[in-house]
């Protein structure tokens, strides 16, 4: 009896925690389908009115477009710089290596506000122009950390003697990279890129400091939030959530296939 009461207590506790976790997502999704503009109890379902309003909202669509540009460009920069650096950290020993690694990870560990604020001081001091370019720099700096961390994780698990074997069998560095190294790190790079895109699409703290005339989507949402709550935000937010979840699910299928082939 006591055991049953105990497990009932555990069940209720875990249920409450899950309720706490799911409240914002469920509310945002449900009220994106609300008919009216007042978001109170009970919701008046079911209408896609706010979705069409969000699509007709020029500022939001412009923001979405800018966000996608920023995400794609900054993730590309992060991969181009982070993957070689990750490979290098794995295979070279040198003085200050740990410090260098930590430095690359710092923008991810520090609050976004710090990264944005320090970057803004440079821009103000040199009287540079704020633009999507400055946003891309801020995002890429943060995303390099994610790529480097992912590379460290995957290279740590991987047997480096495979590369030596390939070279013993007469492959040069380029062939070794494309036939041995690349297939092993590919899944990690795609994973880090998808995570990077999701993080970039959502980034607000840095962006608010260095954004210029062309706002990203979170900045449009932020300035609208400072005025009033509108269900359009819920609609666009739900949409971004669903799309990025679908992306992650597709990747986990491919990632699993990649791992299974090994």
């Amino acid at each position: 009896m006591r055991a049953r009461l105990g497990s009932l207590g555990v069940g209720v506790g875990i249920g409450l925690i899950l309720l706490f976790l799911y409240i914002p997502a469920v509310i945002v999704a449900v009220y994106s389908l609300n008919k009216g503009a007042v978001m109170s109890w009970p919701p008046e379902l079911l209408s896609f009115h706010w979705y069409s309003k969000a699509f007709a909202n020029e500022a939001m669509m412009e923001g979405l477009k800018n966000s996608v540009i920023v995400a794609l460009v900054s993730v590309s920069i992060a991969v181009l710089l982070g993957v070689p650096a990750g490979l290098g950290v794995d295979r070279f020993q040198f003085f200050g290596k740990t410090a260098f690694q930590r430095l690359l990870m710092l923008p991810f560990l520090m609050p976004g506000l710090i990264s944005g604020l320090t970057l803004l001081t440079v821009i103000l001091d040199f009287q540079l122009e704020l633009s999507l370019m400055t946003v891309i720099i801020a995002h890429a700096t943060m995303l390099i950390a994610i790529v480097v961390i992912q590379m460290a994780v995957v290279l740590d698990r991987w047997d480096r003697s495979l590369e030596l074997a390939a070279q013993d069998l007469g492959a040069n560095e380029i062939r070794t990279f494309f036939y041995v190294t690349w297939p092993n790190i590919r899944a990690a790079i795609v994973g880090a890129s998808l995570l990077g895109i999701a993080i970039s699409l959502d980034e607000t703290a840095r962006t608010a400091f260095v954004v210029g005339e062309s706002d990203t989507l979170p900045i449009v949402v932020l300035s609208s939030l400072r005025r009033t709550l509108t269900p359009e935000i819920n609609a666009i937010g739900t949409l971004v959530l669903v799309i990025s979840l679908v992306g992650v699910i597709i990747w986990s299928k491919f990632g699993a296939a990649d791992l299974a082939r090994e």
Binding site: Y31, L80, P84, A85, L87, L106, P111, I137, T141, A205
Partner: protein, 312 residues
Amino acid sequence: MSAIRRHRWLQALLLFGPAAIWAAAFIVFPVVEAVKMSLSQIEYYHLVHDWTLKNFETFFSNPLYTDALVRSAVRGLIVAAAAVAISLPLAHFISFRVKRHQFVWFAGVVVALWLGYLLRIVGWRILLGNDGVLNGLLTSVGILSHPTRVLVFNPFAVILVQTHLAMSFTFIPIFVVMQRVPHRLMQAASDLGAPRWRQILEVELPLIAPGVAVGFTFAFVLSFGDYFAPQLVGDPGSVGIANLASSQFEHGLAWPLGAAIGVVMIVAVLAVLMLPAVLMWIYRRVIGIRSRRGADPAQVNPGPLVEEVPAS
């Protein structure tokens, strides 16, 4: 090509060079610039680098700023403690109680936390708002006769929202370290007669301590550096240090003071980030002394205790 093959330093340069230049230009240099700006003044609408400590004097002599610093630090501790306190039982439940489809449970938690940062704040505001869901629910059930205004725009709402935001940074590290706790150790403790609370306290907790420490610091840093929740669900009394830092750049020409607040925040956050390493060092020293006195469990290895209890 052959030159690259012959000189290893050239390989290293090609691999590290771009990232190193980027880090120097966009991580190190901006911090240097922020420090420089924090030691400057605005005179006649121009930035004058005159190496003055005036901004730091303003900061530390004005209770507006020092109170906000203390408030942010205290709120950070509360939020981190709350997020860890919620993550621990949830991660423990999924790791040790759920027998099948552990990954589905884990994914279920991550999906809830996948919603965007601002959108999560929006969700809480719709719930707690003056004509929001909770008010509507309570009045329609009859618990409240009128919608109440005390649910949102207060310090507690900020803590609630930030705790939810911090969950992604506490749950995942704690869950990851818990997955590595061998079930047979818990089983062994149980076979030796340890009640469940002792198994958790003396077997599980020491093994997951690093993950808990990482989660706690991340959650603290998130709350400490967050300037949206206090703005969007807080009242004037919940203004934190981060709000003051950002507002110096929004209105007027108070950049040097803003930079000084930023520098104070950098120092505070670096100290907090180094705290787990320092604590682990002290912990190892203490454990080291204890195990030298008693039997070192690593040296008295009796071989496999029991067959591995299937984790799933």
